[in-house]
Symmetry: C2
């Protein structure tokens, strides 16, 4: 296992008693080679000290062996789990991952303008809920490689995401079944001002569920805040200063909910007695905070996006495949029935 540079693919093929093509496919993780054969060949290649030459590999296959992973954030729960799942899936298949963080409008503009990944990658995965505009799609298509969207379903594009509208319905339905009617929503706006699909769809799901139950939405109880913990705290502060606060709040995401819980704690209001909170995500801290939330598996979205990308690289005809990963409610301790179902009790609430 010395990684001698003198060992080439033909040496491995000879030792394994297979064609060079089979060795190439086995090492690249391409389909058409059985798992057993792949294992035997890669072990033999390891043993002989064969090291893949990126140049030779590209010349042979006309490919770079790399996928570009474009993401507006790297360090949030959602994005870091997306990057982890995608990178692990691609790396396991022998594909290298080029990471393109495009934080902020300036970086984003530069990315689409200059296409730094051009001619360096065989495919691109964009981590959403990134709202890609039509001119940006045109720029991406200029690269002439498959583009997969992870974390958002885009009609006509290979993409993997949850049904945000449905996830919101699962959350709001839970509050309505508990007897709440005076329900607020703290929405999560992008700090850069982009219209994120998840935000639009979750608000739509909230309105639709309320309407289906014959409950009127009080527009004063829809509070847009920048997504994140401080935004959530500010949103709850606003709701608590309303003449008639809600008895329950649906928050855009768990981080917004954590901020809202912080605001409630400072106000001396306990959940669920003084206020019910339900959210979407199931962030690892949600269990710690005993937060009722709609679970979405980011890892499942990531792994599916990785496999969709691998399929496209291997020319399996999946150009327009859209994969929806199911979500489900997890009931913990931030939601409870209204004390007098159907009636808001701001006095009780504020002294709880």
């Amino acid at each position: 296992m010395q990684g001698q540079e003198s060992v080439n693919m033909a040496d491995v093929a000879r030792a394994a008693g297979v064609s060079v093509g089979t060795v190439s496919r086995a090492i690249a993780g391409t389909k058409g080679v059985s798992a057993a054969t792949r294992r035997r060949i890669t072990e033999l290649a390891d043993h002989l000290g064969y090291v893949v030459s990126p140049e030779a590999s590209r010349l042979a296959g006309g490919r770079t062996g790399r996928v570009g992973l474009v993401t507006p954030y790297v360090n949030t729960w959602f994005h870091s789990n997306m990057i982890a799942g995608i990178a692990e899936t691609l790396t396991a298949a022998g594909i290298d991952v080029l990471l393109y963080p495009i934080a902020g409008a300036g970086e984003r503009h530069r990315f689409f303008d200059q296409l730094p990944a051009r001619r360096k990658v065989d495919a691109v995965i964009i981590i959403a809920a990134f709202p890609v505009t039509e001119p940006e799609w045109q720029r991406l298509d200029l690269m002439g490689v498959p583009v997969v969207v992870a974390g958002l379903n885009v009609p006509g594009r290979p993409s993997v995401g949850i049904d945000d509208d449905l996830a919101a319905r699962q959350a709001v339905n839970h509050l309505l079944l508990l007897g709440h009617e005076r329900i607020a929503m703290i929405t999560g706006e992008d700090p850069e001002g982009y219209q994120y699909h998840s935000n639009v769809a979750r608000l739509r799901g909230f309105r639709a569920t309320m309407r289906d139950h014959g409950v009127t939405v009080d527009e004063n109880l829809i509070i847009p805040v920048p997504w994140g913990i401080p935004g959530g705290a500010r949103g709850m502060d606003t709701l608590l200063s309303a003449p008639q606060p809600p008895t329950a709040v649906f928050t855009h995401s768990d981080e917004v909910a954590f901020g809202a819980l912080q605001s409630l704690r400072r106000a001396g209001i306990r959940t669920p007695d003084g206020m019910s909170i339900v959210s979407i995500d199931d962030h690892p801290m949600a269990e710690t905070a005993d937060l009722t939330t709609v679970h979405q598996s980011v890892t499942e979205q990531a792994v599916n996006a990785g496999h969709l990308c691998l399929d496209l690289l291997h020319d399996h005809h999946v150009e327009h495949k859209q994969i929806i990963i199911p979500t489900h409610l997890i009931i913990r301790r931030t939601t409870a029935p209204t004390r007098t179902p159907g009636a808001a009790q701001p006095q009780t609430l504020l002294t709880a």
Copy 2:
């Protein structure tokens, strides 16, 4: 701004009235070009639609234009912020980042055995507190490129980290000054069984500070748990079931502290009245949880590691440079003076 392939570096040089070398250095972000000139040239290159050709760039500079970023985890707070800061720093300098996630002992072994980054990168950054063994260092050195360690100071290696021993002293000193003597430590062990330097150094700092204050460490109050929220909860459960629980606990990191706080909440014990908790990190949820903790800037470590790597790529003689990023205590609401300084009060504690 059409990214026409016909525009080459010479065209940009001619339009800018500078040498091709200056254009190359400006676009690569190499030192020796003023910020103003760099901005003027990159803007002109954008305007002309110049797209860097990776092949040409490599042939010209003998370099791949890529750095390998190796990390055992992608989605923890520490690692995701490291990846973000390093990737943004390198990307801004025109360097592409190849991400190598090596989760688990199998992936790790395969990485060092096969060196998949070999001949594909100009340098490697390893995100610690990854304990690289001597045989692994020998494998890495086989690649013949600079290796930077981010998040851990390694003697004789270019590396950036905090002083873990000092950070522990800052935390434990705070508890001692509040009058606590019966102080526990919940340490954070690696689930894969590796000896992480941070864990060893923080325990050493704990013992040294206690000794300096003439306070005896009760070995039964040193609880090793796998780092993370569930481990922290289990550690506090263990401490609460001791015949004489501590009055204060120093936890390895904020995620361990979050688990410990969860255990306390379930037991009906409030902080800081029933128990003081201090930690290390200043995770974004620490403020939400009102956790007293020693702040470490992961972003500062990441940006410094990125710049150290760029310096090495540009042959600035910094081979053995070690950078220590300072830490400092942030006092929030999980620590308070003992009620009767110096005396443990398990009864009071358990009924608080």
